[in-house]
């Protein structure tokens, strides 16, 4: 029996808005997909693009990046800086051909527990439809797959 694919979603969220929003979703007993692993950051401005790359490399199938709405940042301008960085990072990934549809960017405030639950559900569904993220794995293994291991073993005997 084929197992249904359950995507691993990593959510990088800011402490002040989205994390509180997720907390509200919890205290409101809103049910949402369990595929998400939430990582809390002090601010979206702290979310380095390398963290996203690392998450994908360590087996994430999809990523959510979320923080305070513009003008709502606890540190005044962290999310404005983050927004520029995301814009540049997204076009960077587009240019090297990375499947950017696996990354969902969103603004979720502390009052938007419902939006958070919907966001997680939507992202889980869309990533489930996309299937497992294999691009990075294929990068390293495709070249080895071409090696004729049997032939090499035969020769060395």
């Amino acid at each position: 029996m084929a197992e249904t694919f359950e995507p691993k979603i990593v959510a990088f969220v800011c402490n002040w808005c989205t994390y509180a929003g997720a907390d509200l979703a919890g205290t409101s007993r809103t049910k949402y997909a369990t595929n998400v692993r939430i990582i809390r950051f002090p601010c979206t401005g702290r979310i380095d693009f390398m963290l996203l790359i690392k998450a994908f490399q360590n087996g994430a199938d999809g990523i959510i990046v979320s923080g305070c709405h513009p003008n709502d940042c606890h540190y005044t301008s962290g999310n404005f800086h983050a927004r520029r960085r995301w814009m540049v990072f997204k076009s960077m990934l587009d240019f090297i051909g990375f499947p950017t549809e696996r990354i969902t960017f969103s603004w979720v405030s502390a009052a938007e527990g419902k939006k958070w639950a919907e966001l997680v559900n939507e992202t889980t569904d869309s990533v489930r439809a996309l299937g497992p993220f294999t691009e990075y794995k294929n990068l390293d293994f495709s070249q080895f797959n071409q090696i004729d291991h049997e032939g090499i073993a035969e020769q060395s005997r």
Partner: protein
């Protein structure tokens, strides 16, 4: 050429510069970077179309910084790098004099940052046509085709970091590639690690790279890595405006923001 040599000798003679970084020819008549400290040596200086090296990269070296008063024989790309470095407050301790040859093959001597800025703005280069052609080609491909292209290219990378060494904008004393707690960039030359490295490099140079193309030219594997930063530059110019290496108060696109920045992907 003679004019350049005479001027260089004069500058070294009267103490305007202690060290002059320029080009001489090696045995195969190829221009190579050369450091001159006495006026007597100035007669081997050359400057022509083949002098492509971005000599501003040497300005970060301690031995060079110690000379304080430095002359630089430079092409427009190098002048742009210097301008960008000045806007990033990297060359504060140095007194720089620039020698360049303009489009009418006349020697131009620039003695101050303001003169440099005016000269660069008057002679501002556009993207090299061969690069633009490649970018246009890549941008019309599908995502999968682009991924295949870069996979093909970056699988050749052996992480020699020549692209980093040659870049005047890569002046961090500790690079992300050397951080090992955590190990951000894989040390082996696996393709996935190469993707990490080149994404990181392009992101850290986005909005700062001045498009001299040295990283692509220098790559021993022939990977056009300069296209990554060239593309980023164009994106940033389109989205946020402003050119890199254009003015002394250039600013850094990723270090500033406008509340009205427009994107179409944040839900």
């Amino acid at each position: 050429m003679k004019e350049l040599q005479n001027k260089a000798a004069e500058l070294l003679e009267n103490g305007t510069v202690n060290l002059l970084i320029g080009f001489c020819q090696d045995v195969s008549k190829r221009p190579v970077p050369y450091f001159i400290e006495t006026a007597a040596e100035a007669n081997i200086l050359v400057f022509n179309q083949d002098c492509k090296n971005n000599l501003s990269v040497y300005l970060h070296k301690k031995e060079v910084k110690d000379a304080v008063k430095i002359g630089l024989v430079a092409n427009v790309a190098t002048l742009r790098s210097v301008l960008q470095l000045l806007s990033e407050n990297q060359l504060g301790s140095l007194t720089l004099t620039y020698l360049t040859v303009n489009s009418g093959s006349e020697l131009v001597v620039l003695g101050s940052a303001e003169e440099l800025e005016a000269y660069v703005q008057a002679n501002f280069p556009t993207c090299r046509p061969e690069d633009q052609e490649m970018l246009d080609k890549l941008n019309v491909l599908s995502r999968e085709e682009r991924w295949a292209f870069w996979k093909d290219q970056l699988s050749e990378c052996v992480k020699c970091y020549a692209c980093r060494a040659v870049c005047p904008m890569c002046y961090c004393t500790v690079c992300t590639t050397e951080c090992n707690q955590p190990q951000w960039i894989k040390t082996s030359a696996e393709t996935s690690g190469n993707f990490e490295y080149h994404t990181m490099r392009a992101m850290h140079l986005a909005g700062r790279c001045i498009n001299c193309g040295e990283c692509g030219r220098i790559c021993p594997a022939g990977i056009p890595v300069h296209l990554l930063t060239a593309q980023m530059n164009q994106e940033i110019e389109k989205e946020f405006g402003g050119k890199t290496g254009f003015s002394l108060k250039g600013g850094y696109a990723l270090n500033s923001f406008k509340p009205g920045d427009k994107e179409n992907f944040i839900k």
